[in-house]
Symmetry: C2
Subunit: 598 residues, 2 copies
């Protein structure tokens, strides 16, 4: 049976020593959370993840969710008390406004919480996770009445939330939405249609479920400009604020999926259900994108989370499993064989996962802190710069962390040899569960197109230029630090590749957009590698500083950081050269064949 | 529901136009199989795969195998008649000696058969597949009596076969085997112990199961030099050759696995079962390696097979699913959206799979023909050269084709977006089924070590040098062919990288074997890419020749080959530069951390 230990120490090191968390004290909510408080909060989150969520992970996979004849859905045994523990701990509203019952703490904390909970039990963590997305959308676009009617209950976790976008004929291309909204004359609308792939669509964890539903108001323009967003509660809210009679929405079936069996992925049928418009008519996509961007960051974190828990279990197995002898001579001569961690190819796999996990964790925290600045700074320039960063990095966090996160669950499974294929070991569940994150909230090809087609050129390329400048200045400032030379040189080369690829798009993709499409995925991954490399140099610099200062009990861990940074540069970053070669080969060979040839 | 069409046309093109199949007419068995006969045979194999095996693929996954209280195992509904159709068609003994009831046809045909059947239904194809491995071991090392007692029934498929190596404490490191063999005094042995992960270990498809079991004879030396191979029939064979009383072997349980649910992966308990030594005492590993090498090639083919069927279904979906508009303007303006095959990122995924599949198919056929030469040529030099090739390429075929084959099932699933995660579409089954091939018959890290640690340096590096020479001469001969310039240049660069990596190992790995271990997987993949690139230039050359000669109805297909070759060179081969960089970075950063740091 797999286990999990939340990496609290690593999170704290990154916040304190690498990302200068304490410099953010001027932002609202941060003064309530100095590092000692952060440490205490993360300690509690870790306990919940390790002791309550993780033990239910395999049960959830085996048992799955059950839909009854009347449309009710039962979650796996133990999920309800675990959910209750989560909501009663106030975790859903950790960063939500105090005015609606939240704790107003940094959004960064919610992101860390997401990592720990998703690593422990992805299927279970998704229930409150979806609620958080719905809260964000109502906060940003709901009326004051809507906010007071829904937010306190959602933040308290008494009610949960969902996102309803997809229909059978309509995934990425939301212009194809058919779900209809007809004005009832009393300000409300009658919503009719079928939505599919609705995570947490129906369940027994909360008293009410607040569905956010994209639909087309009768007579609205075709395409994406005729779509509106509605609040459709499972049970209509009574004047006293409590849930009353059932609304015309029901779960038609639960999908049979590859993984995340513990989460009820539902087909939702809307049959004249009463819905309430959020924001303006026909501007539903704007409102939905608030939710989506939040969700995309959270999904990227899920990729990291599954990679981390899979890594931890692979490392433990590699230290225990005896098989073969070290190439350099027996390491455990008293035992029948050496532990397989002595084998360089096993190390290669473990180091790859570790270098990704620790680098990606820094990348996520860095970006999460920008979200706090974007939402909370009182300086317009800071807000804008942070928003630029967030817009640019969101598709990268989502696409790269879920792609590599999945690959790492496969690597971790590989460390187990044949045992990795056997369900009881739990490694194959990580692979099946992690796979979803590459698909939902926009398949990763869509993330790549969002980056290359939208974010890169936005405002004259301001966001990307800011990133390039930041890294360039950092490299200059640290050019004379000999302890970092190997690392900075590697980062400089990779940054050069990224700039060349960017330039190539600028010169070629306007005339032929297919050039951008053909290189988008490679570009997204290259950007991710450069961002992680930048994180790794900063991590190594912080670690070197601690080592010079004595480092107390942390010396081994800090040396590990420096070595892992080297591994990242030598073993993972060289990929940017191949990515650049592929990008500049353009669309010709990609698009050469007729569709009929396939 | 997925479908499958066996790529008979492509197999024939490769044999006829690329690999010069007809030049092999001097080998025994080949004169019975001119290309027209090959075409007819493959046509029949295709029918069986498409019409009998493929429709059972999902049923097998859903139903799995059932072990009854008495140890009997029932396979999924429909498997028995399908197996009967396969064995009655004479497919098991297609390439087996005529003397034992086989057809004596080229082994290459059995390899093609393996591709089609494994693509259609991997779990089902494994039952006769294991029998073929057992036949090979008995043929190579059994006594004449053993051959006549077992081979005819196995070749006929009335009896099936298994390989019993793994034990709970012993996977890769066969020196750790504990299963005991005690001489009974009558020439037979009493075998006792537990074997795990035994594919097709118990089932209801055959009247008898011939287990080949590795065990340690009482008093034998420790480690791999004290292991012997035994025939342990499920039912003991009576003097008249029919199966009689049950032997002391039984299925203790069926493993719960990630995939290939239709194949019974068993824990086998041996409790004083009667066993018969094959070959010499304590030389069991040698005998087992015959079986293993055969099996490793077959497993590599499984990787290709799953990649091919996943690709076919992804391509079909991409042509049907309407979503979004082409970047270059609407391609299906009359429809609500364009088919997703217009999107460059979808094309990129399809082209990657296609370029791998067609190149890998050539690589497999090329290697399978070498197996025929190695076994059947009357010229010692030809046999040796073919054996060199086979020894060198076996770990590459196994390791690379199953790694990339798996990745391609993931890519194919990605083309389906969220639908790829839903079981009914069948794409997630390909991912789960293909995953096993990276693990069994030696996890892929073991293949990489076999290549770098054993095959590369064998006989002074003769095999690798022969490959480098062949490619170098080919490049010289085609240097003036301008229609191939882009392709030959790319191959030359990649070959250079491979030679540099080889040289680096020679100069560094003797003094520090960890350098070889740390670079082994990258080296194996680099070698695979160069081999596939060599195949692609030969394919493009053949296609150009056909186009010049008119090409009749094949023009579109031949142009497709030329374009796909370009794609391979521009989009897949650049990886060798990154692989080289990783290899020459050596073992330092891989091995730097203490085991306790993980």
């Amino acid at each position: 049976m797999p286990s999990y230990k939340a990496p609290v120490e690593d999170t704290l090191f990154l916040l304190r020593d690498v990302l200068g968390y304490e410099r953010h004290g001027n932002l609202p909510g941060f003064s309530d959370a100095p590092l000692e408080v952060v440490e205490a909060i993360l300690g509690e989150a870790a306990k919940l993840a390790e002791e309550v969520f993780q033990p239910l992970n395999r049960i959830g996979d085996l048992e799955g969710c059950t839909r009854h004849g009347d449309g009710r859905v039962t979650t796996p045994k133990g999920f309800k008390p675990a959910y209750d523990a989560f909501r009663q701990g106030g975790w859903i509203g950790l960063s939500a406004p105090v005015a609606y019952g939240g704790q107003g703490l940094p959004m960064m904390l919610t992101s860390v919480l997401g990592e720990y909970m998703s690593a422990a039990n992805l299927a279970l963590a998704m229930y409150p996770g979806l609620t958080q997305g719905a809260i964000a959308a109502i906060l940003a676009h709901g009326s004051d009445e809507q906010k007071s009617a829904y937010l306190p209950k959602m933040i308290e976790g008494e009610w949960s939330g969902t996102m309803n976008l997809t229909e059978p004929q309509c995934g990425t291309d939301l212009g194809l939405i058919k779900t209809k909204a007809v004005a009832n004359g009393d300000g409300s609308y009658a919503i009719s249609g079928t939505k599919i792939f609705i995570s947490s669509g129906e369940h027994d964890l909360a008293d009410n479920i607040i569905h956010l539903v994209l639909a087309r108001i009768e007579g609205a323009p075709q395409g994406t400009k005729g779509i509106s967003l509605f609040i459709v509660p499972k049970r209509l809210v009574q004047p006293d604020g409590s849930p009353g009679e059932p609304n015309g929405v029901s779960c038609g079936s639960i999908e049979h999926k590859m993984g995340i069996h513990g989460n009820a992925t539902c087909v939702m049928n809307y049959d004249g259900a009463k819905g309430f418009l959020i924001g303006e008519e026909n501007r539903g996509l704007n409102a939905m994108f608030v939710m989506m961007n939040e969700a995309r960051l959270a999904v990227g974190v899920q990729g990291l989370a599954q990679s981390e828990v899979a890594y931890q279990n692979a490392a433990a197995y590699a230290k225990e499993r005896l098989q073969g002898r070290a190439l350099s001579g027996a390491k455990a001569p008293g035992k029948p064989a050496d532990p397989i961690i002595v084998h360089p190819d096993v190390r290669r796999m473990l180091m790859s996962m570790r270098a990704f996990n620790e680098g990606a964790r820094a990348f996520v925290l860095w970006t999460a802190l920008k979200a706090d600045i974007a939402h909370r700074s009182d300086t317009a320039a800071d807000r804008q710069a942070a928003e630029d960063h967030l817009g640019l990095m969101t598709p990268i966090v989502k696409g790269v962390l879920t792609d590599i996160g999945f690959e790492n669950t496969v690597k971790a499974q590989q460390v187990f040899g044949g045992h990795g294929y056997i369900a009881e070991w739990g490694m194959e569940q990580f692979v099946r569960d992690a796979r979803i994150a590459m698909l939902y909230e926009g398949a990763n090809g869509i993330q790549a197109m969002d980056l290359v087609g939208r974010k890169l050129g936005k405002d004259g390329g301001r966001a990307a230029m800011a990133f390039f400048n930041e890294v360039t200045i950092f490299l200059k400032e640290n050019a004379s630090d000999e302890s970092l030379t190997g690392l900075t040189k590697a980062l400089e080369t990779a940054l050069g590749h990224l700039q060349q690829a960017t330039m190539w798009f600028m010169q070629n993709a306007v005339a032929r957009p297919d050039h951008a499409g053909a290189g988008a995925t490679d570009y997204m991954h290259m950007f991710g590698l450069v961002a992680l490399a930048y994180m790794w140099v900063r991590i190594a610099k912080a670690a070197q500083a601690k080592l010079k200062a004595g480092a107390d009990g942390e010396a081994a861990r800090m040396k590990g950081k420096v070595e892992t940074a080297k591994f990242f540069m030598q073993r993972m970053l060289p990929e940017t050269a191949a990515q650049l070669a592929r990008i500049v080969s353009g669309a010709d060979s990609v698009m050469a064949l007729d569709a009929e040839a396939f």
